[in-house]
Every structure is written in structure tokens, then in C-alpha cells.
């Protein structure tokens, strides 16, 4: 267990959401150091060396993502992805509400590294109060001289703005998010070109998740080796695990990669309600494949590679625990309705596929689980795979396929 937190530092340092407290705990020193003493490329190299991988779900190396930015086209933008809408994920909200300056300093460091003078924080519309709070914090940073023109006596300038979405899961997909900031319907773009070349307003743009960005001040302050020493060789550092479902103590737990499911669920989460056994784990929220739980699974160390060996993805580490009182046809009914509601309608496989999956699961639950309908549902889900414009369509099939294949008994009653 960690002695102190790196991201959820408000749990160790009360009032770290106040500027003077954040400052007296080393706040903004990393940003000042990079702006006054480092070249943008050196910042990118340090982040590459730290092994930091994107915390929004894809796990792509952050420094490598930055290095794709096109230096022939200007200006550049940074967008912080605070859309947090995956069922089971609630970590970014806690970070922004309780440790806002570390997050914003991370936005600033990323902006300097890619040469952006303007950054947008895209918050889901439901985070109305968080956005108002961040606006106040951004204004305080301006007054304190850590945002604005000619920072720390250099010619580097940076402004950060918040932008509120209005209730659309799809806007967490980075190109849909850019469309939304541009004042359009939030539908994904065809890629390539990727945002690093053609992003916000058609300019090179880096989109990073809140938790990813919040790591940066600590990495730049303490060094890449310090960070790499935590976690596993595959997945460096710490992760905020959002634990939910049938556990006694749901919540966010900041732990090093390599923590086992058993430690998370039993040591931190207090075990399953009523002492029931864990039936299944969804490690990446509603987008997840189901992992059928057994002793070996519970002792698996959570990192990106190890969870893949269990036939699932760690994603944003939103661990939903399902016990043996719950039937999988009920679970996938919930996930299918979610994706049906959130499908943006731009591409046919997702728009039609989620629609038909919804009708089939309703028929299955109403009509006594006819084998024909279960086979047809599995067939529709598999036909959608690898054909959708963005990951949302793909995600909608994960629980369906693995639910039917790995828990067949729940579909034959």
C-alpha cells in the first residue's frame, strides 16, 4: 500500500485545493522548471522515459503521443479530456474537485511540451459545478502569475479555458470532443488524419485524460526514474482504480499497477456485500469484456498486459464487481441500453447494431431465453465488430459477446 498519494494528494494534504497550500507543497515548481530550464522536446523525452501511458483507457504512451504533433503547422492546442462518462468511472471528478491545481499544472506542462498557447478543458455537461470551480482556480493561477503572458519572464504564454459538454458519452472520443468544442454535434471524425496533425480547428492537437495530465507535475519534479520505479515493467506508476458494484466499500483507490484484483476488492474494497463470491469482473466499465472470476483471476496483478491475458482490457480501470446474485442477461441488458442511448448515429453498424441488440435482449428477457434469439444477438454483436467508425460501437459488443460465451448458463434458463 502506498504511504502517500501522488494523484489523490488531498487525502494526505488537507486544503491542497487552495492555491497557497498547493504552492507551499511544491506546486507550480515543475511548470516553472520546464518553462525556464527545459526545451519542449526535453519535456517530451522525460515523459517518454517515465513510461507514463494514457489513463483514459487506451494506455497509449503519453510522450510518444506528444511526439506525433506536427511542427510544420501552427498554432497547436492541448485539450484535457474531462468527459468522464464510462459507467463505473469516477476518478477524474475527484481529482478535479479536490486536487485541481495539480491537474491544471499538468495541462500547463503538456501545453509547453507541445508548444500550445491555449488549452481547453472539456468537461461533461454534468460537471457544471466542477467547471465553475475550475474557472475560479484558473483565474487564481492567472493572478498568481502562473498562467497568462510571458510566464516566468520568458516569451511563453498560456491560457486555459473550460468548455462544458451537454450530455453525450461519445464526446469522450477525442475527435468527437474536438467537433463538440467547434460547436458541432459530437460525432467522431474519420481517422487518419489524427488530432496530432489535424485536431481542433484543423490544427495539431494533443488530447490527454485528466488523470494522465495530473501525473505530469510529479514526474517532472521527481524524475522519470522515480516514476518508473513504481508499478510494473509493462505499466509504470500508479493508477486511480474506480471500484464499484457489489463491494462493501466502493470508491477511488490510488494504487501502483501490479496490485491484484484480490487486494483491490478485498483489502481496499472490504470484500463483496453479504460475503458473496465474486462472479465476474468488468475491469474497464461498461465497455469491458467480462472476466469470469476464479482464484487465479483474483491473484492477477492488474496492468495493461496482464489483464489482456484474461481476455479483457484494463481500460480506465473502472472495476465493476458482479456477485453470484446477478444474472448476466440482466447486466448486458443494462450495457446495451447504455450504448444504444449513446450511439451518435453517424455510422450504420453502431446505430443499427445497438438498436437490434436492444430489441433482442428485451425479447430474450421477456420471452424465456429462446436459443434462436441468443444466437441472433451473438451474431449481431459479432457482425458489428471491426466495422464501426469509432470504439463506441466496438465497446457495445464486448459485454454481449463475452457475457454469452463465458456465462452461457445465464442465457439458457
Amino acid at each position: 500500500m502506498l504511504m502517500t498519494h501522488i494523484l489523490l494528494r488531498h487525502r494526505d494534504i488537507p486544503d491542497i485545493n487552495k492555491l497557497n497550500v498547493y504552492k507551499s507543497n511544491g506546486g507550480f515548481e515543475a511548470f516553472k522548471k520546464v518553462v525556464t530550464k527545459m526545451k519542449p522536446g526535453e519535456v517530451t523525452d522525460a515523459v517518454k522515459a517515465s513510461g507514463l501511458r494514457g489513463r483514459g483507457g487506451a494506455g497509449f504512451p503519453t510522450g510518444v503521443k506528444w511526439s506525433f504533433i506536427d511542427n510544420k503547422i501552427w498554432p497547436h492546442y492541448v485539450v484535457a479530456n474531462a468527459d468522464e462518462s464510462e459507467p463505473g468511472t469516477f476518478k477524474d471528478r475527484e481529482i478535479m474537485e479536490s486536487n485541481p491545481f495539480q491537474f491544471l499544472e499538468g495541462v500547463a506542462i503538456a501545453s509547453y511540451a507541445v508548444g500550445a498557447n491555449a488549452a481547453y478543458v472539456y468537461l461533461r455537461g454534468e460537471f457544471w459545478q466542477v467547471a465553475k470551480f475550475l474557472d475560479e482556480k484558473i483565474a487564481e493561477m492567472g493572478e498568481a502569475g502562473v498562467l497568462g503572458e510571458n510566464l516566468f519572464g520568458t516569451d511563453y504564454s498560456l491560457h486555459i479555458y473550460t468548455h462544458l459538454g451537454a450530455g453525450a458519452y461519445i464526446c469522450g472520443e477525442e475527435t468527437a470532443m474536438l467537433e463538440s468544442i467547434e460547436g458541432k454535434r459530437g460525432t467522431p471524425r474519420i481517422r487518419p488524419p489524427f488530432p496530432a496533425v489535424y485536431g481542433l480547428y484543423g490544427k495539431p492537437t494533443v488530447v490527454n485524460n485528466v488523470e494522465t495530465l495530473t501525473n505530469l507535475p510529479m514526474i517532472l519534479a521527481n524524475g522519470a526514474d522515480w516514476y518508473k520505479n513504481m508499478g510494473t515493467p509493462d505499466s509504470a506508476g500508479v493508477k486511480v482504480f474506480s471500484l464499484s458494484g457489489r463491494v462493501r466499500k466502493p470508491g477511488n483507490y490510488e494504487l501502483p499497477f501490479g496490485t491484484t484484483f484480490r487486494q483491490l476488492i478485498y483489502e481496499h474494497g472490504g470484500g463483496v456485500q453479504e460475503g458473496r463470491p465474486v462472479k465476474a469482473i468488468m475491469p474497464a466499465g461498461a465497455s469491458s469484456s467480462f472476466i469470469a472470476a476464479d482464484e487465479k483471476v483474483l491473484d492477477t496483478q492488474m496492468d495493461y498486459a496482464a489483464v489482456r491475458t484474461l481476455g479483457a482490457d484494463l481500460g480506465s480501470a473502472s472495476v465493476i464487481v458482479i456477485d453470484d446474485t446477478v444474472s448476466m442477461d440482466w447486466v448486458i441488458n443494462k450495457t446495451i441500453h447504455f450504448f444504444k442511448h449513446e450511439s451518435c448515429g453517424k455510422c450504420t453498424p453502431c446505430r443499427e447494431g445497438t438498436y437490434w441488440m436492444m430489441h433482442l435482449i428485451e425479447d430474450i428477457r421477456d420471452g424465456g431465453h429462446s436459443t434462436d434469439n441468443v444466437d441472433l444477438l451473438l451474431n449481431v454483436a459479432k457482425q458489428m465488430q471491426n466495422k464501426c467508425l469509432c470504439p463506441l460501437g466496438e465497446f457495445s459488443t464486448m459485454a454481449v459477446v463475452t457475457g454469452i460465451e463465458r456465462f452461457a448458463q445465464d442465457f439458457t434458463k
Binding site: 462544458l164 458494484g245 458482479i322 450495457t335
Partner: protein, 167 residues
């Protein structure tokens, strides 16, 4: 009255966030502003925003239609939006919703007879560890209510009702 006349300071602040050549970006914050007073967006307000941003009213309407937090019809003053998604449902959100319906005497999607509360089921609100939970959307913004039960919720509605009759 146009938005710029009604809320000059806010409109100026919103437009300053985006590059002047990309003022279409202001459509979402301006729609929230248009929704502030009555909780929904009128056709006139959409036209007003379209004129201000030099885009078509169809463009504005397509944004209103796409995002769930914009409304083009008058409903209850307070929209009580209960999360019934998977993680909340694993912690009793469906039963919570059922009891709310029977206590309020309305179905999901309906509004109480006095026009105070519209009850809605919504997808994940990023508060899965504090279910049952809901948010209340009014013209004035959004607020979360977490670790709720039916009694606390009915008290809250009663308080809103009292505040309403006093105002």
C-alpha cells in the same frame, strides 16, 4: 430581447474563450445561457444565437437535438435525473426509481401535476460509488445529490416546493 442585450457580460466572457474566427464554438455555452431563465430553449433564442455566430438556425437546432442536457420544450421546473446505469443499478438504483415514482405518483418521463419536478432516467453520472444518486437540472445549472434514499429525496422535493410557493 437578444441574449447579448440580456446577458452582456456573460456573452462577452463566452466569446472571449474562442478564437474570433471560430466563434461557432460559443454555441454550447450560449445555449446554456438561453436555457437559464425558463429551462428550455425557444426557437427565437436559437435564431438569435445563429445570427450572433453567423451560422444557420439548423446548425444550432442540430446541436440542441444532439445533446441531452438541452431542451426545446417546457417541462418541470426541476428535472430530477436519476442514474439507473449498471453500477448504480447494482446498488439499488432501479428500486430507488420505482419508489420515487410511486411516491410522486408519476412515471419516468412525467412531470408532477404542479409542474415542479420532471422525473428522468439517465445514463452514468460518474458517481457510481455513491448510489443511489441523481442530479437536478434547472435553468440555473446542475447539482448532484449522492448517497440518497427515498425519504431524503421526498424531503428535498418538499423543500423545493416550499421555496417555490414562497417566491
Amino acid at each position: 430581447m437578444s441574449l447579448a442585450e440580456k446577458y452582456p457580460k456573460e456573452v462577452k466572457q463566452i466569446l472571449a474563450k474562442y478564437p474570433p474566427e471560430h466563434k461557432r464554438s460559443a454555441v454550447m455555452p450560449l445555449l446554456y445561457l438561453a436555457q437559464r431563465e425558463d429551462g428550455y430553449i425557444t426557437k427565437e433564442a436559437m435564431q438569435d444565437i445563429a445570427d450572433a455566430l453567423e451560422i444557420s438556425v439548423t446548425d444550432v437546432g442540430s446541436v440542441v437535438g444532439f445533446y441531452t442536457l438541452y431542451h426545446d420544450k417546457k417541462e418541470g421546473k426541476y428535472r430530477m435525473q436519476v442514474c439507473t446505469d449498471l453500477p448504480c443499478a447494482l446498488r439499488g438504483a432501479d428500486q430507488f426509481m420505482e419508489s420515487l415514482c410511486s411516491n410522486l405518483g408519476i412515471k419516468v418521463g412525467e412531470t408532477t401535476a404542479d409542474g415542479l419536478v420532471t422525473l428522468e432516467a439517465v445514463t452514468c453520472l460518474a458517481a457510481c460509488d455513491r448510489a443511489p444518486m441523481f442530479q437536478i437540472q434547472s435553468g440555473d445549472g446542475l447539482k448532484y445529490y449522492e448517497d440518497m434514499n427515498v425519504d431524503k429525496t421526498m424531503e428535498l422535493i418538499e423543500a423545493l416546493r416550499k421555496a417555490e410557493s414562497n417566491s
